[in-house]
Each structure stands twice: as C-alpha cells, then as structure tokens.
C-alpha cells in the first residue's frame, strides 16, 4: 500500500552523487584501457533460457514484442563475433520475481568482454576496477583471495561438494540452521545452492574480496567447462565482497552446437518444471558458427557495488526509486 511519502527518492543525494561519480570513473577506467563502450537493445525477441531467471514479456496493442533482456550478453557476443574487439556496456537489466534486500527486478549491470583474456587475467582486471572505483569512497575492500568452489565448501562448510550426496547435504544444512520446507522437492543442486547462499557466503570474511571459481558443471550457464583436479567444472568465477555477490565472470563458450544443446536442455528442464520454454537466440548461434574470439566476460551489479562502497545495508539506499516506489 503506498504511503504519502513514497513519492520521494529512496537514495540520499549523497548516494546519487556517488553513483554519478562511479559511472564517470568507470568510463575513464575503460577508456584508459582501450575498451569500447557500446549500447545494445533492452528489448529482444530472444530470452534467457536459464530456469532460474525469469524474463519479463513486453506486448503492444498488436501483440507480443519480445522480452526485456536479463543481461546484454547475446548482443555483445554478436558484436565480438563481428570483430568489435574489447567492449563494455552499462545497462539496465530486468529479472522477474527478484525482490529483496539485495534484489530489485530492474537493476544496473556493468558487463564487459575481453578477447584473448584468461579468467585469471579478467579477475585481475575486475579487482583493479573495484579498487579504482573505491578510491575516495567511505568503504573500501580489504585483502582479496581466490579460492575454488570445492575448496571453499571444504573450508567453510566441511563437506566436499563433488562427493557429498543428499544424505550428507540434508543434515549439513540443518546443522547450519537451514531448516527447509518441502525438502523432498530439493535436488542435489538445490541443496548445494542453499548451502552456498545460506551458509558459505555469510562465512566469507566481511571486508575482503573473495573470488570463487570452478563451479559445478551443472551451473555453467554460458561458460566453458574445464578440468580442475581431475573433475569437470564450469570455467566461471563469482566475486564476493563479504557475503554479497557482486560479479559473475565466464570463460565464454564458443561452440555453437554445445550452446544449442544447452538452450534445448534448459527448455526441456523448464517444461519439466511447468515453466514456459523460451525462444532462444538463433542470431547468437549464427554468430558462434561464424566464430566468437576466445574471450573472458564478466558482469558486475553496479547497485550492489555502490551500496558496498557507501556502507549501505540494502539496495534501496542507492536506488533513486526502488521497486516499492515505482
């Protein structure tokens, strides 16, 4: 129910000023490194097939127009395949159903792609950027650490996610205070996701940057798979500041056939769950067939990063108008 004060912005003018400064600094950062700023459409006929991401549909009086993008990834990869070289974009993205302290259905994503970069080189650049943006901000990150998904689980939760079965994961979740409703509907991946979000992330050192890499292959999304300690993992990393996830980086999948198989598998899983199958991006598949240069790419949630830099306790404090005020 709206209250009379809801016309006012949720963010202070200090926060809005800091946001403007952050955008100016990141543009200077990429200009100095020869990364080109691009703009791609927010509205697309194709949508994300990811079962955990809900795309918002757009219609006009004549019918369906398409979807608001959940990330500019497909269009940016088409630019890469067309020979753009390194590119970045700051854009609003939209994800249905994501409302919470650290979620808003519309948020600002910084996404960039580096042809020829390894994941390690991209992690270096992410850290350089975060530290550059943190200069003269009230809150700056402390040390940084890179750790494998498996090692992080063993260190913080005391189980090996590659070998633990559901019979181990359930009591482990209970022991971490994660009492679950309808637990019989949980898959192995659900239990790992729950432990990751509910127990592992909150245990990461508060002021430090932690890069976690080598995710389960089932969570590869649009990343390559690779071998790590004799086990297949997704060539992906996530950046955390304290327990808050800020960024997701990929060694980008180049194989069009594998990409198409994953789209189809996602849609099959969607149908199994009673979710609508999504029209996937045929143009992207064509671009991959034409040849995507080997690239590493990453997306950073700028609202979350800004909130952390200002020491804010919720996303609303850095959004002019969060979802409850629109």
């Amino acid at each position: 129910m709206p209250t009379p004060r809801d016309w006012q912005p949720g963010a202070s003018f200090d926060a809005l000023t800091a946001r403007a400064r952050l955008l100016a600094k990141l543009r200077a950062f990429f200009a100095a490194r020869g990364v080109l700023e691009v703009e791609t459409p927010l509205l697309s006929r194709a949508a994300s097939t990811d079962v955990h991401i809900e795309s918002l549909r757009v219609r006009d009086a004549r019918g369906e127009l398409g979807f608001l993008h959940t990330s500019p990834e497909f269009f940016m990869k088409r630019l890469l395949a067309a020979g753009s070289g390194p590119i970045y974009q700051v854009s609003k993205v939209f994800r249905g159903g994501e409302i919470g302290r650290w979620h808003n259905p519309e948020f600002t994503l910084l996404e960039w792609y580096r042809p020829g970069f390894s994941l390690a080189a991209l992690m270096d650049e992410v850290e350089d950027l975060v530290r550059a943006l943190a200069q003269d901000m009230p809150s700056r990150p402390g040390t940084s650490r890179r750790i494998g998904y498996r090692e992080a689980f063993i260190e913080h939760i005391g189980i090996d996610p590659w070998t633990a079965d559901i019979k181990t994961l359930i009591p482990c979740a209970m022991a971490h205070g994660l009492d679950v409703a309808e637990g019989e509907h949980f898959s192995q991946d659900d239990w790992l996701d729950l432990l990751f979000a509910g127990a592992l992330a909150p245990r990461l050192p508060t002021d430090a940057l932690t890069f976690i890499h080598g995710f389960p292959p089932s969570q590869a999304a649009l990343a390559k798979r690779m071998m790590h300690d004799g086990v297949e993992v997704a060539a992906r990393f996530e950046l955390f500041w304290g327990g808050l996830e800020l960024a997701n980086g990929f060694d980008e999948l180049q194989d069009a056939n594998e990409q198409e198989r994953r789209f189809a598998a996602d849609n099959a899983e969607r149908e199994r769950r009673g979710l609508p199958a999504m029209p996937y991006d045929e143009h992207l598949l064509e671009a991959l067939r034409a040849g995507l240069p080997a690239s590493a790419g990453v997306a950073i949630g700028l609202d979350r990063l800004l909130a952390r830099l200002l020491g804010a306790g919720r996303l609303d404090e850095v959004l002019a108008f969060g979802i409850h005020r629109v």
């Binding site: 994501e98 409302i99 409703a181 790992l192 729950l194 992906r236």
Partner: protein, 189 residues
C-alpha cells in the same frame, strides 16, 4: 483453501506450517549467482510463541492460516475456563488454561485483552500492555525510603508477583507493564 506464493511473503502474513498457525516476522530473498532462489523466513508459532526459521524454494506456496486478532473484554474465570465478551456484539468466547498461559496472572475483570483466533477459536490471549492492579501482599513499607532503589516482592490481586520499591504498602494500586512483568509507578487512588 487460500495459498500464498513466496512472491507474496511479507511480515505480518499468517500461514500454516507443520499444522500450526504462524505469523511471518521477516522474509529475506536470497539467490546464488546462477542457481535456485530461496526465501528465508522467520516465523512465530502463534500457539507456542516459539520463533523458528524456515527456508522455501522461491516459487513454492504455503497455506494461509485463518487467523485474526480481536479485542475482547475479560469477564470471569469459572475455575477451568476464562470467559471473554466482544463489547460490540456481546458474543462470548472461552479460553482454556493452556491458551491463557501466563496472561492469567494479569487478567482483571472488565479489562480489554487481545485474543488471537484461529478458525474462530482462541489460541492466545494478550493482556493490555499496561495494567493497574492492587497489592494484596508485601512486606511492611519502609517510610521515607524513596531513594535507595531497594526492591521487595509484592503479590497483586490477579496473582502476579512483581518487584516493587520498598515504600509500597499492601492495598496500594500500582501500574505494571505486562510485557516485561515490571513495576512502573504507584497510582494515587
């Protein structure tokens, strides 16, 4: 039967969990980067008062609880049941000892209480936050000692025992906070 989906979760929502009615106190949406989203919820069991935490997969639903809170006047206790009346409709309801719990220690006839009803039957009784009750038993007062801060136990007309300042005498009226069980002030008759 009504259901709430996780996207409708908010504090104050009354839901059924493991057969008991609960009220939602907090709801946090959590989602790993590329995985399943969850709602981590803190709830209070309205029958036992216990606070518990539950995690739901986002997108799931939970049964709504038919719970409402009504203001009713306390009438009397017949030895087994405590009787209340709606001051507007004059409808009467009775609550047993288990439902009354510690509220019994503060109930004075004609005071207005809050009854929590589940499917129309009382499951909890909350006395008024502040009550004025007579001291029926305490050690003799210490005249003039209003400053040393010492206390002594005093039994009140409704059965509650509270710590009162040394100068309070039997037969005096005092004001108490039923939520903390603490003495607040002497009431001049």
């Amino acid at each position: 039967m009504a259901y709430y989906s996780t996207s409708e979760f908010r504090s104050g929502l009354k839901v059924m969990l493991d057969g008991d009615p609960c009220v939602m106190l907090e709801n946090e949406f959590v989602k790993p980067g590329k995985g399943q989203a969850f709602n981590r919820v803190k709830l209070r069991n309205l029958k036992t008062g216990r606070v518990l935490e539950k995690t739901f997969k986002s997108g799931e639903s939970i049964e709504a609880a038919d719970v409402l809170e009504v203001e009713m006047q306390y009438l009397y206790n017949d030895g087994e049941q405590w009787h209340f009346m709606d001051p507007v409709t004059f409808e009467q309801l009775a609550a047993d000892g288990k439902t009354i719990g510690d509220a019994r220690l503060w109930l004075k006839e004609n005071d207005t209480c809050t009854l929590t009803l589940w499917n129309g039957a009382p499951i909890a009784v909350t006395p008024p936050n502040f009550v004025e009750l007579k001291v029926i038993e305490t050690d003799p007062g210490v005249r003039g000692d209003t400053a040393t801060g010492g206390t002594k136990p005093a039994r009140l007309e409704t059965g509650a025992v509270v710590k009162v300042p040394l100068f309070i005498e039997e037969g005096e009226l005092i004001r108490c906070d039923t939520r903390t069980g603490e003495y607040l002030a002497r009431v001049k008759a």
